[in-house]
């Protein structure tokens, strides 16, 4: 998508990652990178997903996304275990650019400490960090 957008229903991590807590299951979160992150990276040409079952630690890198020019670490906004990865991205990694919050999601995680969400930012706060 060409225009910057930061949906209100998501939680944001300062390393430009988002988390969407599942409406029916508060321990399940979908993770991805923000509009800002994909714009800074440029066209994503490769995403090598971690395996289902991999443990994530909040604030640590759990995957890499690559543009033509560069490799970028993806930081976990929450701790937990990966229960699903977005397989569609291996054939179409540009989805991360086109739909960073929808088709471009990266992994789904079973949270090990749901209270960690309290440390994340809402959309307005995250947008404020980008302005500076």
């Amino acid at each position: 998508m060409a225009q910057a957008s930061y949906p209100d229903e998501l939680l944001y991590h300062p390393e430009h990652d988002w988390a969407r807590i599942d409406a029916d299951d508060p321990q399940l979160a979908t993770l991805g990178i923000t509009w800002y992150a994909q714009d800074a990276l440029g066209e994503v040409v490769f995403f090598d997903p971690p395996a289902v079952g991999t443990t994530l630690a909040k604030d640590a890198s759990y995957a890499e996304v690559e543009s033509v020019k560069a490799v970028s670490d993806v930081i976990a906004p929450l701790s937990g275990e990966i229960v699903e990865v977005n397989e569609a991205l291996s054939d179409n990694p540009a989805m991360i650019n086109e739909e960073p919050y929808d088709g471009g999601w990266l992994v789904k995680v079973r949270m090990s400490d749901p209270s960690e969400r309290e440390a994340l930012m809402d959309a307005a706060t995250y947008k404020g960090t980008l302005a500076g």
Partner: protein, 356 residues
């Protein structure tokens, strides 16, 4: 933070076109406009235009100019015809590569050498230092005198011809033309593997020339596409594939070294050529997913010097120095890409060929 970055005469054009600007060798340069892939394919299929005004120029003139350049440049400068162009490397005594350069013979005793931005100051000092031994040669810095545009792709000549007062020079030739009123040195050279021209003009003429060629359909292309285009056709990038640590024979540039001209470094180059280099620069393609990058080590010895995703081949490609025993086309390599061993195959150069 205080920055002292230089801007080319086209900086405002880049900003207006929505370019992402990066610091490149001390210059604020456009890395991409719409996107690297789109710009890459425009050059392969129609026409792209690049601002390469960050590249430096050194003018060497006078009755001793040829003799000085013969001492400095690895190729046989006496073979450049009037209006011709030639590629060479600049070596130290030990054969280490200071830069790779195109030299144009503008007149019998007047040459223009184009340098890499990151090496320009060092090259100029090297030229001036050695010019002391050649009192009839005069060396002058042209970096502030010239802006440079590269117009590349199958339609490039058509677009530039339409505004030229005379036929464009052929490939590997250079001539002065008036392009829409701007006096321009038109060079039949490039860094993309496509037909096209490189244009040297004054800073004040550059924006008008840029606008005129863009208006005819050339797509502004940034340094990102410039890198993927050159790597698909295995052109060297100084600082990646060429450095002081390795010589031209290792880099596969023996074809532009004529040791009999006794250029600086000729004896070192001759020794490596006759003994055979311990390492060679090869082109490779990753077999499967993954993109190798500069600095990735190779199992059994060697290192990747350039790596990217090839938009035309849709695979990870690159160049690497490997032990000579592993340099044959078809050799299978294992590249350590940030902890994952990626299989790769040594390929013929260039990796991309027109129509493949």
């Amino acid at each position: 933070m205080t920055t002292d970055l230089r801007r080319t005469p086209l900086f405002d054009r880049h900003v207006a076109a929505g370019a992402k600007i990066v610091d490149f060798a001390g210059w604020e340069m456009p890395v991409q406009y719409e996107g690297v892939r789109l710009e890459h394919m425009a050059v392969r299929q129609s026409c792209g235009i690049f601002d390469v005004s960050h590249m430096g120029e050194i003018e060497t003139s006078g009755p001793g100019a040829l003799e000085l350049l013969q001492r400095l440049l690895s190729n046989d400068v006496s073979e450049i015809p009037l209006g011709g162009a030639q590629y060479s490397v600049l070596c130290r005594e030990d054969g280490g590569v200071l830069d790779d350069l195109f030299t144009y013979r503008l007149d019998i005793d007047r040459f223009l050498t184009v340098t890499n931005a990151s090496n320009h100051a060092r090259d100029l000092a090297w030229f001036q230092q050695h010019a002391r031994d050649f009192p009839e040669a005069e060396v002058s810095d042209g970096i502030d005198r010239w802006a440079m545009l590269a117009v590349q792709g199958p339609l490039a000549r058509e677009f530039v011809q339409a505004i030229s007062d005379a036929p464009l020079p052929a490939r590997m030739s250079a001539a002065t033309r008036r392009l829409g009123g701007a006096e321009t040195i038109v060079c039949g050279t490039g860094y993309t593997g496509e037909d096209g021209v490189e244009l040297l003009c004054s800073a004040q003429d550059a924006p008008g020339l840029w606008d005129e060629i863009v208006r005819r359909g050339a797509v502004p292309a940034g340094l990102g596409a410039r890198d993927t285009l050159r790597l698909e056709v295995c052109f060297h990038l100084y600082g990646n594939d060429l450095s002081l640590e390795r010589g031209p024979i290792e880099a596969g540039l023996g074809w532009c070294c004529k040791e009999d001209t006794r250029f600086i470094g000729a004896e070192a180059v001759r020794a490596v050529r006759s003994a055979g280099p311990a390492e060679r620069l090869v082109a490779f393609e990753i077999d499967g997913p993954g993109i190798a990058r500069q600095g990735n080590p190779i199992s059994g010895g060697g290192v990747v010097t350039s790596g990217t995703l090839s938009p035309c081949l849709d695979a990870g490609i690159g160049m690497a120095y490997v032990p000579s025993a592993q340099a044959a086309v078809g050799t299978r390599l294992k590249i350590d890409v940030r902890g994952k061993m990626r299989p790769a195959v040594v390929k013929d150069k260039p990796l991309y060929r027109k129509g493949s």
